[in-house]
Symmetry: C2
Amino acid sequence: MPLAEPVPDLISLDLLRSVADLGSIRRAAAAHTMSQPAASMRLRSLERTLGLELLDRSSGRARLTPTGSAVVQWSEAVFTAMGTLLLGTASLRTEGRGRLRLGASLTVAEYLVPGWLEQLRTVAPDVRVSLEMGNSHQVAEWVEAGRVDVGFVEGPEDVDGLGCGVVDRDDLVLVVDPSHPWARRRRPVGARELAGTPLVMREVGSGTREVLERALAGLGLGVTPLVELGSTTAIKAAVESGHGPAILSRLAVRIDVADGRLVVVPTEDLDLERSIRAIWARGRRLGRAARTLLTGVGVALP
Amino acid sequence: MPLAEPVPDLISLDLLRSVADLGSIRRAAAAHTMSQPAASMRLRSLERTLGLELLDRSSGRARLTPTGSAVVQWSEAVFTAMGTLLLGTASLRTEGRGRLRLGASLTVAEYLVPGWLEQLRTVAPDVRVSLEMGNSHQVAEWVEAGRVDVGFVEGPEDVDGLGCGVVDRDDLVLVVDPSHPWARRRRPVGARELAGTPLVMREVGSGTREVLERALAGLGLGVTPLVELGSTTAIKAAVESGHGPAILSRLAVRIDVADGRLVVVPTEDLDLERSIRAIWARGRRLGRAARTLLTGVGVALP
DNA sequence: GAGGGGCATAAGGATACCTTATACCCTCGT
DNA sequence: ACGAGGGTATAAGGTATCCTTATGCCCCTC
């Protein structure tokens, strides 16, 4: 659902943080290269938006109220998340011109790469990273062709001819909304019961759906689509609004499960696990940044 | 430091998420109660800002590119953080008119309360919560007077006459920037060495400073201020830019340490711990929401 | 090949925002 | 007590942004 309330904009929150850091609206304005009245108006508008008194202007210099201090603190997490987004988009924008060139499947790029980049940045802040996304087959090709230095793919099988190390593990899980009868269920859902239940699914051809279909086909069963949607986000929205259960990557629902918007239901008789592997060309020598990244994500280098 | 790059605004990111959910710009526009051209222009402007192609408009309906899907995913964390901020500010705005009235010290309100509220909302979404901030003494008074239902205070001592349970633990830690010589130090810093080192500090009278001064005074030592600043945020900014070490609440530096902007240096000979306690009036009966909250944060009720 | 759904463009108008200039206020020093 | 200085709010004017309605174009489907 769309954001309901009026949302404070990040520039104003950043300005408030600068007031906390620098001790006056004037200096905060200077740090943001804007005029003092502009900063003053933005801050007043922020106070109107939130309906709170953030600054105490009674004594000459503007000082943060306790409320203002709390808002600064709470906005810190927003900046961190936005920083991650900017880090990710910057690496996508770099398009192969970085000193460390990564390739990754969509799922890995979305859920894992930003964290690794953040971690890498703390030890090597100046390394320009580029990121390209594709399916596992494409990523392997790019690694072989030397178009990327390191690739990250998911899948049960090893990639031959390439250096390889398991980084993480991802499995498909059954999720429902919290008010669904299965949300409180402790007894696992079996393959037969799952096959007989209409599910919210991706359209035919998606990797996630293929894994599920293959696992069920191994038992002589098939899937029963309830509706077919075009994106993981759309599926999550449908499940959260109570349309029905779905099978999704655990990585994709991690945040939603943590926030309580979705509930994982245990399953049995189904092998829906796959590893996430780092791959690299054996022949080429890995750069310093690549080695730092790989050891950082837990890969033992030769 | 202020945000350098141009920051995408949350409404546009939210719009992009709606496109992913609903499958077309038109429907996303309708969900946001704006005209279709307005949504189209916002999305195009978002693509310009990020320098990336987020939507594939070639086939009639607009579909997200893999890049667009990644941006949606990354922005999810931004919405979560902003939701926490809005939850916190809403409870401050409610000012005692909520069905569950909380009081908390500044530190607890800033770092812990939003998480508890989020947790509470997943099991009781409709409870209106109000939050008031003050020092530990004020909070205890409010609880006694029945102005708030539950209070959260920090400090080593019990509050008598009130129901009480330890919720969490907070201690003061020594932090430096990652390039400081102490950042790699494994041997703990002793009280004498700490007293001889100029520190970035809060001004006289702050609770954090008092705890430190009392701990050192017990050993016949005193503090050596390097500079004195007015807020925790200002101190963190000074430490991060390499001005010198500081003693800060572990809660206050949790995110910065996780992100690698600050490093905790081990200390010894110093008792800088304090508990965070929930307090409530023994005489009054606790409401359902209050009991849910307290058991949720790990307090055993009578 | 005709119809329909969906997106982009154009024109016009309202709104929000920023900058410079200036007045007010508080604090501090003598 | 009084003046100087730093800091913030207000006013006026101009610009850029953003939205809405109207309309054209394109792709897909039947």
